[in-house]
């Protein structure tokens, strides 16, 4: 049974919250770990208080905590990739990661510019040959620090989607695959050792300040809970359902810490929301079909 902890912070000192969330899932960090890769969600030039990108203060506190559990000489790599929208280095600076890296003596790594090796994975009977950044294999530990947010493309974006970002730059061909299969393939190639979801600011229909940290070693479990908090049935997100089916984790984890019911009222979806979603979806499809959208 996968455990997922839900803990909210009272102030912006997230270290205690993260520590408590790890204690609740009985997570024990091996002291012989020498290097760690941390992957935040850096999707665009959007401030973390929009709920769309990972809070750099959370990452800073994760670094402090990992070092206090292992060694102060722990080699920490904060990683990102170039996207169609922005070069990774620009986003590191823009979103405050350059400052965190300097302050915490961590390294910033653009995975689009590092060596890769090939990994073959199989998703629903289809083989995928993926180029994976070697730095993720050489590091002793991989922490994903995703956002939990509603997404027009993925329904819900959280830990599973965060791994897709790592391989997208080197594996352009994967973009032509079904997106749910691509996400599952990425997670088969790169299963995180720890998922720490940044729910400090959460983007649902509106942005809410929840101060939430969610921890688990199971990315499917955290994605399922993120979906439930955002008012979505996890089965509606095809990648979560497929990841569960492919054995990457459970969609019915045991929740420890705060109860799920504490968070669900924030993003409860009304019938009006559901009707509007349907109209938008049908309307957009019609506009696309008729080709009458503006150039």
């Amino acid at each position: 049974m996968s455990l997922v902890s839900l803990v909210s912070s009272i102030n912006s000192d997230f270290q205690e919250t993260i520590q408590e969330s790890l204690r609740l899932i009985q997570f024990d960090m091996h002291s012989n770990i020498k290097s760690v890769v941390i992957k935040p969600d850096l999707c665009y030039y959007w401030d973390h208080t929009t709920g769309l990108t990972t809070n750099p203060h959370v990452v800073g506190d994760v670094i402090d905590l990992l070092r206090s559990s292992t060694s102060q000489s722990l080699d920490v790599l904060i990683v990102g990739s170039d996207t169609q929208a922005a070069p990774c280095e620009v986003l590191f600076k823009f979103l405050g990661y350059s400052r965190v890296a300097t302050k915490k003596n961590a390294r910033l790594v653009n995975l689009s510019k590092t060596d890769c090796h090939e990994i073959e994975v199989n998703v629903a009977g289809t083989p995928y040959e993926l180029l994976v950044p070697s730095v993720l294999d050489t590091a002793d530990f991989f922490v994903t620090v995703p956002k939990m947010k509603l997404s027009s493309e993925f329904v819900v974006s959280c830990a599973l989607k965060n791994s897709l970002d790592i391989i997208q730059a080197q594996n352009r061909a994967i973009n032509s695959s079904p997106i749910d299969a691509a996400i599952v393939a990425a997670n088969k190639a790169l299963k995180p050792d720890l998922c720490l979801v940044d729910g400090t600011w959460v983007r649902g229909k509106q942005t809410k300040k929840l101060g939430l940290i969610m921890a688990s070693i199971d990315p499917v479990a955290v994605d399922s809970l993120a979906a439930k908090i955002l008012g979505i049935n996890p089965q509606r997100a095809a990648h979560i359902a497929l990841a569960h089916k492919e054995g990457l984790g459970t969609i019915t984890p045991k929740v420890v810490g705060d109860s799920l019911a504490h968070y669900t009222p924030f993003f409860r979806r009304t019938t009006k929301d559901k009707v509007w979603d349907l109209i938008s979806k049908m309307g957009l499809a019609t506009v696309r079909k008729l080709g009458i959208a503006k150039q």
């Binding site: 600076k93 823009f94 979103l95």
Partner: protein, 340 residues
């Protein structure tokens, strides 16, 4: 170039970025103008213009300037290209609608004013708010309805050159020149503040007594992403200009407080139905309508041989205020305060 007797203005459009595309659509709609040619370095942008029926599509704008069929140009290029392109247009005898801000700095702005004046062409600087409902505040002030104006608050806060999350799931890249202050000439204060400062100088027709600005750097860029600018006019009117690139929602407003009355105006949040109609091309947004009015006014000025406003000299005064605001600024970062 005097166009007395003409019934149609032959336009050339340089630059098909975000604002350039507004002009492209509007130029195609105007009855007394004909869009003869466009120029853009991006093949995709040129393809859009071709698809919309523009006959001449140039990669290099100097070919557009040399096109004798064109009598007036709309320049919607990045700020660092304004001086070069506007001077080139003037030397080819073209009338000019130049997107704001006039230039990156006073030296370049002064050159544009001097060269266009020497060439005897008409030049207008594109400030679309002057052609929106914000223009009605001017008549309220001039009519005396407000009494004597004491204070004004101007706000222009939105996402600036970045894309708001609600409009796109996979945002396109922003041109990297936006992140280089050498190429932009400044940050949010120049980009958005110029709109509001232009309105204030137009409303009050007054000289500057003092200006102080507070510049913020939330996004760790080498230029400010938000700013508060405090202006004191010689008549005694005080104004605050509040600008920022940090918000997902657009918020443009103006409040003018007089001894008799107060007037306030803001760009309304677009309703979903308006947005849907806009996507279908059935109803322009307030912003599109303002750009349309602006271009229509420019074309009418050319046809009727009237000097259009805001002129390059007006925009130069805006630049002077902004320049002084930068000189007299206090810089804030997230964690510290530093004087320049």
């Amino acid at each position: 170039m005097v166009n007395s007797g003409l019934t149609t203005v032959n336009l050339g459009l340089v630059g098909l970025g975000g604002v350039g595309r507004f002009h492209l659509r509007n130029a195609m709609r105007l009855k007394n103008a004909r869009l003869v040619a466009v120029a853009d370095t991006q093949e995709r942008a040129r393809g859009v213009a071709k698809a919309m029926g523009v006959k001449k599509v140039y990669e290099d704008y100097s070919r557009l300037m040399a096109d004798s069929e064109i009598d007036s140009v709309v320049i919607a290029l990045p700020t660092f290209l304004h001086q070069e392109c506007a001077v080139d247009a003037a030397e080819h005898g073209k009338n000019i609608l130049l997107e704001k801000p006039l230039a990156r700095n006073l030296a370049e702005g002064g050159e544009i004013v001097a060269k266009t004046s020497k060439a005897g062409v008409k030049i207008m600087v594109g400030y679309p708010l002057r052609f929106s409902k914000f223009a009605t505040i001017k008549s309220e002030i001039d009519s005396g309805h407000l009494g004597e104006v004491v204070v004004a608050h101007a706000t222009n806060v939105w996402h600036g050159p970045f894309f708001p999350a609600m409009n796109v799931s996979s945002p396109p890249p922003i041109p990297q020149w936006w992140l280089d202050p050498e190429l932009t000439g400044g940050g949010a204060l120049l980009d958005l503040g110029s709109h509001m400062i232009n309105l204030l100088l137009w409303y009050f027709e007054d000289e500057l007594a003092a200006v102080q600005s507070y510049l913020g750097y939330r996004f760790n860029m080498p230029m400010e992403d938000h700013a508060l600018c405090l202006i004191r006019f010689k008549s005694g009117v005080s104004a605050s200009v509040n600008v920022g690139w940090f918000a997902q929602r657009k918020s443009i407003s103006m409040e003018v407080f007089g001894t008799s009355e107060t007037v306030s105006m803001n760009v309304d949040r677009q309703r979903k139905i308006t947005h849907a109609l806009n996507l279908l091309g059935l109803k322009p947004t307030e912003e599109e309508q303002a750009f349309h009015n602006e271009l229509e006014y420019f074309v009418n000025c050319i046809l009727n041989d009237i000097s259009p406003e805001p002129s390059a000299a007006d925009a130069f005064r805006d630049l002077e205020v902004i320049s002084k605001a930068y000189e007299n600024s206090i810089h804030f970062t997230k964690s510290r305060v530093k004087t320049k």
